[in-house]
């Protein structure tokens, strides 16, 4: 079996369980959100299934030494459940996925991390946030999302994109639809596009004092919420975001087997590449061990590894720390690393575990609520014929 731990050195069941104990304890607290455990049958089932599923994923990560193979299962499930939970909640509360101007004036728009980069300049100059949400006190309030972003950036850097983002699992899911890539070569210059989009939306939002990305470009409005079509302008915006979703999140990932929205368009990902500088975890390559099989280059979903970066012993700044290249390298030449720690004769499995504890905490906690809610709604649908 390929991967960072040879089969002979994999931890035994008991040691794996011991290593999983902290996660079992923490996920129990996180999934119950500090409240007593549910007592009604549907609640018990959704809690138990989520708890077992999440902890099984972590157990397998520790036991097999594979990261991406298991992370991906939870990450894609998280995205699917997020969409299911979010949309059904909108129908329950608002009766539709469309958000009206009145809803916006009342500050009823949930704030998502994608808006953060465009809010910073106006916040610094006007001390206001250019978003029709609420600062604090509601679900998905602006302050809550900022705290989550600051914490996850400090702990994971651009690992945010593979361990936190509730949208990332969508194009990751589509990128795994086919076994072989239909489009094998993508010009590496396209990887600069997210930085251009970032610059455009930051400037445009500052000038117009409106979240330009949300209004014009965000593909994920297709599966969350969107402005009610009341004018030609909103109609054009709708055509743009639906087209971007189909192209970047569905078609291109399926054809290239890469996360094209995340690596070729997402301005928040570009922004996270910059905040990644303050993070301690990185992926390193030992060029001496490398046999030039180029499996890592072929599998990297974010175009972050190539001959040039391999020669330098690292990945590009766009690396999302998903661990796919680490899993793919049979020579164990690619590994998680802690900045400052020794490279040669280091302890790659210790580095990996130190990374996946905080990373998995974010993934498990963020996904847990949505997975539970989605299971609960599916049970309700089966039992009563209605999700509400």
């Amino acid at each position: 079996m390929a991967g960072i731990i040879p089969a002979s050195q994999q931890p035994g069941i008991l040691k794996t369980l011991l290593l999983c104990l902290p996660m079992i304890f923490i996920t129990q607290m996180m999934l119950s959100a500090g409240k007593p455990l549910p007592t009604e049958p549907a609640g018990i089932v959704s809690f138990a299934v989520t708890f077992i599923f999440v902890n099984s994923i972590f157990f397998l990560m520790i036991r097999t030494g594979k990261t991406d193979r298991w992370r991906s299962i939870l990450f894609v499930t998280y995205s699917v459940c997020f969409v299911l939970s979010f949309i059904t909640n909108l129908f329950e509360v608002r009766g539709s996925m469309a958000i009206s101007q009145a809803n916006m004036i009342e500050g009823l728009t949930p704030f998502c991390h994608m808006v953060i980069p465009v809010t910073l300049i106006p916040a610094a100059l006007t001390r206001t946030i250019i978003f029709p949400g609420t600062i604090i006190g509601t679900w998905a309030s602006i302050a809550t999302m900022f705290v989550l972003w600051i914490g996850s950036s400090l702990a994971l850097g651009r690992g945010f994109c593979s361990w936190f983002c509730f949208f990332g699992g969508m194009d990751e899911g589509f990128s795994r639809l086919f076994k072989k890539a239909r489009i094998k070569k993508v010009n590496p210059r396209w990887t600069y596009l997210p930085y251009a989009v970032l610059l455009l939306i930051v400037l445009a939002s500052a000038v117009t004092l409106a979240p330009f990305y949300c209004e014009w470009l965000c593909p994920f409005k297709t599966v969350t919420e969107f402005a009610e079509i009341t004018s030609l302008k909103i109609f054009i915006q709708t055509i743009i975001f639906v087209s971007l979703f189909i192209a970047l999140v569905m078609v291109l990932p399926a054809l290239t087997r890469r996360r094209t929205q995340c690596s070729l368009f997402c301005p928040f990902g570009a922004f996270q590449s910059l905040t990644n500088k303050i993070n301690v975890f990185e992926i390193r390559v030992e060029p001496d061990k490398c046999i030039q099989c180029k499996k890592c280059i072929a599998t990297c979903p974010s175009f972050s590894i190539n001959e040039e970066t391999i020669a330098k012993g690292k990945t590009a700044m766009t690396c999302m720390k998903c661990g796919k290249c680490v899993d793919a390298c049979k020579q164990q030449a690619i590994f998680y690393h802690i900045k400052g720690a020794p490279l040669a004769h280091g302890k790659p499995e210790i580095y990996r575990r130190l990374f996946i504890y905080p990373a998995f905490l974010f993934l498990a906690t963020m996904s847990g609520g949505y997975v539970q809610d989605a299971i609960l709604k599916i049970i309700k649908l089966i039992a009563t014929g209605s999700i509400f």
Partner: protein
């Protein structure tokens, strides 16, 4: 030096676990702290701006926000003023109200709102008043934005 770097690296890596836990367990506290320390508010283009006057009509009240001309730097030439009427339960079928937003003792415009349909009409008494914008059916009443020109 190498050992110190390595030690600091491990410390930071362990701190990442603590940061992850603190991010979730302390989210409420940190969110409140962040909001209080930065003092940021929602941009008035979305919220309507601060309230400058409330008129009590018994069954309902009229809430007048400040005129909004906010730009990134300085002010825009054109803006709006938002008027809210609430609560929904106490609103009459038709509201007709004179608004003096610049405090000169004279009504700058008279706005009429049909609370059944959201249809509005505007009578201007001030050259700075441009037009009536959209009317919004809120959870707890109605809001209307009247477009204004900035006066020197």
């Amino acid at each position: 030096m190498k050992k110190l770097k390595s030690f600091l690296g491990y410390i930071w890596a362990v701190a990442a676990i603590i940061i992850a836990l603190a991010t979730f367990f302390g989210n409420d506290y940190f969110s409140r702290m962040l909001a209080a320390s930065t003092g940021v508010t929602i941009n008035p283009r979305f919220s309507g701006g601060e309230i400058i006057k409330t008129v009590d009509h018994g069954n309902y009240k009229t809430v007048v926000h400040r005129p909004v001309f906010d730009a990134l730097i300085g002010q825009t030439k054109e803006g709006f003023i938002q008027i809210n009427w609430e609560p929904a339960a106490g609103l009459p079928q038709v509201i007709s109200e004179g608004i003096d937003y610049n405090g000169d003792g004279k009504d700058d415009f008279v706005i009429t709102l049909d609370t059944a349909t959201g249809k509005t009409t505007l009578a201007k008494n001030n050259s700075a008043v441009l037009d009536v914008g959209e009317s919004y059916h809120l959870k707890n009443g109605w809001a209307v934005r009247v477009l204004l020109k900035r006066q020197p």
